[in-house]
Amino acid sequence: MSRPDWIVLILTLLGIVAYGLYKSRTSRDLDGYFLCNRSVPWYMVLLSIMGTQASAVTFLSAPGQAYTDGMRFVQYYFGLPLAMVVLCITFVPVFHRLKVYTAYEFLEQRFDLRTRTLTSFLFLLQRGLSTGISIAAPSIILSSILGWDLFWTNLIMGGLLIIYTVTGGAKAVAYTQQLQLIIIFGGMFIAGYMVIHHLPSHIGFSDALHIGGKAGKLNVITTGFTGKKFDWNDRYNLLSGVIGGFFLALSYFGTDQSQVGRYISARSVSESRIGLLMNGLVKVPMQFLILLLGVLVFSFYQFNKEPVFFNQSQLDLLAHSKYKDSLATLSRDYDAAESQKISSVNWLSQHAGQEGSPEYRRNEEGLKQAEGQKSLSRTTIKRWLNDKEVGGDDNDTNYIFLRFVTDYLPKGLIGLLIAVIFLASWGSIAAALNSLASCTIVDFHKRFSTKELPAEKEYNLSRWYSFLWGVFCIIVAQLAYNIGNSLIEAVNVLGSLFYGVILGIFLVAFYRKRVGGGAVFTSALIVEAGVIALFVLNRNGVIHLSFLWLNAVGAIGVILLSEAIAAVVGYRMVEEKK
């Protein structure tokens, strides 16, 4: 990186830390530290839940996803607006009425202590590990592309934000998320503009879309049917997006304290609701635009040299392996194919009216041959990387966008886009640390402590817990580095293993009033074991089930099984509401 990039990056990061510290003043009790004294307006609720959900991976992975697989990933978010409506009707009024600090407090009031403790423990386990992985994933990508030391990248990715998160709690988290999102959206908008700006002069925005469309990248809606058969292993289609995405979003926003903590800090039920509903309105279009950026980058690379593999560190790995000589030959063939491709695409795009002419057909044929050669080269590289002796990582999807940024954006802007990655990461990690600390003190320390603590002492303990969770997550990040790119998938899979069951417990709490604590606790343990078994069977190829469906299986499993157990052992007495 150049000096202007370093200046922009350092100033942006330090500016956010300073702003977080400036906004840290709050009352020295749990209400102030975890819930901003329940005074947050709707627009800050909106920005805070968006900032918590959008991690660095969102901005690194999504454009790469569109580049390789097309825009169908957007369907993953179709269930989110529906989940927002259910949350507003059911979850929000109850959380506000009971004035809870954590979502799991409600479970003790509705069921019993052990159900609350189990659910909170599952949350701490899942969120603690996945936050550590969320630090490691972007750090690995940045250190790989920029040649930074991974230890220090992890430390800055997960460490600097601890300063304002520990000092200012939820208030500092909410205010910094607000500023972070403004910088993130600004940076992404400028990146989008720069992609179009770098296209040849005769190619406009609409032409770029047509190029992406011809390559099958604008497949926003897919049905998941192959012939007449529905593919249950297909991750992103209309059905899995609406149903699987609904359960995932409902679990995440309704039962994950890192999100619940954001909207219960609103000043009223109305403010929480509007914040969540606005999220339901803007999330899908926002994700659509981020994916569209990936398609524009794809169109850009039709006129410019595309790297044979976007993760340069893996090519360096091959260059020092037994494939060294073969790689040199392959690179020459690939470069020739790239030149052919660029020449053909340029000619074809400038002579769109001459379809059917001999020259047009010759260029079409040249393009086809070049694409065939490129595809062969990439497949070969992936095969070499998968060689156990090499031990490489054959997935470069998450490197595509950042590689474009570092190769083609002007000085200063690269620093801004790198800052965007850090800030996106900080927003979600800060909210996670705040929620981990709130559950630790409220659901465990305070609940099981035999002596009453003064407010000041609780406040100080909360700060310590925030700090210790920060240290824990950084340690997880340092240990997780050798898992490679599958880290990103690991975060999603980890969530799907636990979210469904936690959601099932909450749905029984809200909608099955006659089911008691014993039935729901037993069924949660059994279904959790079942979900893990399904995951293992799928991993070993015995069944074919996308991880997105595990949320639905967990939630529906707990509802049905707890109902069945309650029917056998007897329903609890429920007071009639007058």
Partner: protein, 42 residues
């Protein structure tokens, strides 16, 4: 739940159910738009 809804009047629209309909309607509109978008560029 009804009491909560009465206590917290929604802004702009008269009832919360109108807000929910707006969010779901907008989602359907988006899916329709995406369908046409996919068809147009495929």
């Amino acid at each position: 739940m009804d009491n909560d809804q009465q206590e917290d009047k929604p802004p702009i629209l008269k009832r919360w159910s109108y807000w929910y309909a707006l969010v779901i309607g907008f989602l359907l509109l988006l899916i329709g738009f995406f369908y046409l978008f996919t068809k147009h560029f495929s």
